[in-house]
Assembly symmetry: C2
Homo-oligomer: 448 residues x 2
């Protein structure tokens, strides 16, 4: 058997040149976005004030399996990609597991996460259309940083609405975005009608992704030559993030390995959707049987495990289209003690549909348990994981421990989406023993 | 000509298996460390209470050119090495230079810098000798983080004395070290005689590396089964850091490139000494002519460009051996407005000797000028550099601009030592326009 290095980087010439659209392989497609005004599926014209044209085409295309990655995006990808596929030898040894544990590490770039993959794509298309500026929202700050980097690379102005809880918890995140030239407001802010309305109801709110989306969309549609970009949930984002899975697939092929279990943290679903795409294709097309796909979410924001599968707004202000997805309700705001991202009330319609149709599993973990895994992982693998990524680590460890008990030599692949350098207040509370868990009551989730 | 990728990673099997000891090639060796008690060169017995035995042998060996890297260290290196050699195509294009600009990027690991290379070596040897704990000091925090990671990997306890100015400026750095299991004190502290003495003289001091070294050494020699480790200046550290240069050399060979100019930031000299080692060997052995080596230092801590070449203590408390080096005086403390590392009063005796003998150049830059380069680099290359590394960027950009003016297609190699994720308060002050420069007066430097 060929020697498997600790960190494997595909050579530049083997980098994927196309993204893969998982919807093309789905026997039943995700339900369409609905225009809440007409009650009908959204049209490209409905979306045109918000998204740029090429992205609308990608968003609404359920059939084309492959999209060419434009050369300027490939040129940026090759600065920080391929990302390493890591065989976690030290973690395997520490867990005394016969499992082979792999993780695809997307934190080796300054955005600190996989988010840059879609940010570069979205910003390029905006530039290509002749737009001058973009708006977006950010929760933990990774998406905002990624878009700020991409806007610096392609020369567009950017306004970021950052969830106020994160803005206060991670003051330096905004300074990274400013270093890349972005303007950053804590959300809710007084710069939009949506923000002012939310502040009027609750002046001390820590904000939510749903609320920040409302503000960013409003700002985009009221500014000339401006559009809005979103870092997760949307079909186009999962399309761009398929680069993660395609590289993983290719790299594992070289070592004749194929995952029995694919694990990803899931907030809006961008990482997991991208990571699993080519493997799920094999499952959907019947080429492989028995592969398990596990979405891991925080117990404090459990959209798949405790939400309802129904049409809901993508934002708190209810100005966006409605999506058929697992949702906790557009007004849901995670408890302030929740660290990191994975704080969105809904879930990618693609993942929601696959989960609903039985192709996937979902689990949720409480925060302290997740940080137990994060700290153990850091000490073993020398990478300080983002809290988001640590959800996948927790699950991968538990599956590997199960293999130790059963003696099964399973191949486990998980997404290590990013690094935790801007999450040190959460790590500090863990080290101090003051970290707390929170599981929302049914009345908080279903009060709508 | 073979295509040069943006980021090139040597395959695992081409990783160096030995470190290279540059002293072996020096026609005149660096002057020996002096025991201030006896006035004579230090003996292994003098150093035994402070350093572990294998490291003493490396420290005092001027002749052996190559040292085998023990397998457990290689096993850890392969988790995060080889580090990428990056061809800065976007920077070249933006500067409109015919120069080829390469940088060796050491920030792709959680310590955020090259420091992990020596930390793993030093901690392994301590473990191998049966020691139970280590002490060290840290300035900007990168070295402390690296040792904390290494101690977590090899299972030793660690106490870190962190320069108080950095401790206050970068509160999250200590939390990273704590996450890896270290105990961190701001220095000067009341836990040592040296610290109490310095506090008695100046209760509001922001501290210095020299002072933190005094505390860490005192703690090591007064604790059973404990030794001290240092992240720069020492010969052993430059030996371990030669891995940077060896990988760069090998990678450049594959593309038939050889640097005309090798540039590194220089605080204690560990990165530059490691990066240049195999190239300087060629120069010293007459195999190559005309290669320039440039040490870049902050104008606020200009040991090579404004210090004296003489014997001085390595620490403020004057409990360490004396080294012949360029020094600003053991009492020198950089102005509090100075961000990041590169705040040591002295310089590696190897680099000092080579500079004194005319093999190297040195330049200094003021802080705002350095951050101009840092921000331009971040926006072009997508990496947020550490302030330390940005000194080398500034110099590389200036040399590349010179090439634009002369039309010379020079090959420039610089060390990008790490990332600036924990230096955001400095970036914020730059973005706010409140960053200031400081050039010490002669009376501050030479008052001794």
């Amino acid at each position: 058997m060929k020697h498997i290095p600790y960190r494997y980087y595909l050579p530049e010439e083997k980098m994927p040149k196309t993204w893969y659209n998982l919807r093309a392989a789905m026997p039943e497609k995700p339900d369409p976005l609905i225009n809440p005004g007409t009650g009908k599926p959204v049209t490209p014209d409905d979306l045109r004030p918000v998204f740029c044209d090429k992205l609308i085409a990608q968003e609404l295309d359920n059939d084309t399996p492959e999209f060419d990655i434009p050369q300027p995006i490939l040129d940026m990808y090759r600065i920080y990609r391929p990302s390493p596929l890591v065989r976690a030898y030290r973690m395997e040894a520490a867990l005394k597991t016969p499992a082979h544990i792999y993780y695809k590490f997307e934190g080796n770039n300054t955005s600190g996460s996989h988010k840059l993959n879609s940010a570069l794509a979205q910003v390029f298309y905006a530039k290509d259309q002749g737009l001058k500026s973009l708006t977006t929202e950010t929760g933990a700050g990774q998406w905002g940083t990624a878009v700020a980097e991409a806007c610096a690379a392609f020369g567009l102005d950017l306004t970021v609405y950052m969830v106020r809880g994160s803005y206060d918890q991670k003051p330096y995140r905004k300074d990274v975005m400013r270093t890349f030239g972005a303007t950053v407001y804590p959300s809710p802010s007084d710069t939009t009608q949506a923000g002012r309305a939310i502040l009027a109801r609750d002046p001390h709110t820590t904000g939510s992704l749903g609320c920040a989306i409302s503000e960013a969309v409003e700002k985009a549609v009221t500014t000339p030559d401006c559009r809005y970009v979103l870092g997760s949930v949307l079909n186009q984002v999962l399309l761009h993030q398929s680069i993660i899975g395609l590289e993983s697939y290719e790299a594992l092929l070289e070592f004749n390995e194929y995952p029995d279990i694919v694990i990803g943290c899931a907030g809006g679903g961008s990482n997991l959707g991208g990571l699993m795409a080519p493997f799920m294709r094999d499952t959907l097309e019947g080429k492989r049987k028995g592969t398990r796909y596990i979405a891991v979410e925080p117990a404090s924001c459990p959209s798949l495990t405790r939400g309802r599968y129904e049409y809901d707004f993508c934002d708190t202000g209810k100005i966006t289209p409605m999506a058929k997805m697992y949702t906790l309700g557009a007004e849901f705001i995670p408890s302030p003690n929740h660290a990191g991202g994975l704080r969105y009330h809904g879930m990618s319609p693609i993942i929601s549909k696959l989960y609903h149709d039985g192709y996937m599993e979902a689990v949720s973990y409480e925060q302290t348990n997740v940080f137990d895994a994060a700290v153990q992982f850091a000490r073993l693998e020398t990478i300080l994981p983002a809290p988001e990524s640590a959800h996948a680590i927790r699950c991968a460890m538990d599956e590997a421990i199960r293999c130790r008990e059963t003696g099964e030599e399973k191949i486990i692949l998980f997404g290590l989406t990013g690094t935790g350098y801007f999450d040190m207040s959460a790590y500090a509370s863990y080290c101090d023993g003051t970290m707390t868990d929170y599981v929302p009551k049914d009345s908080e989730i279903l009060a709508r």
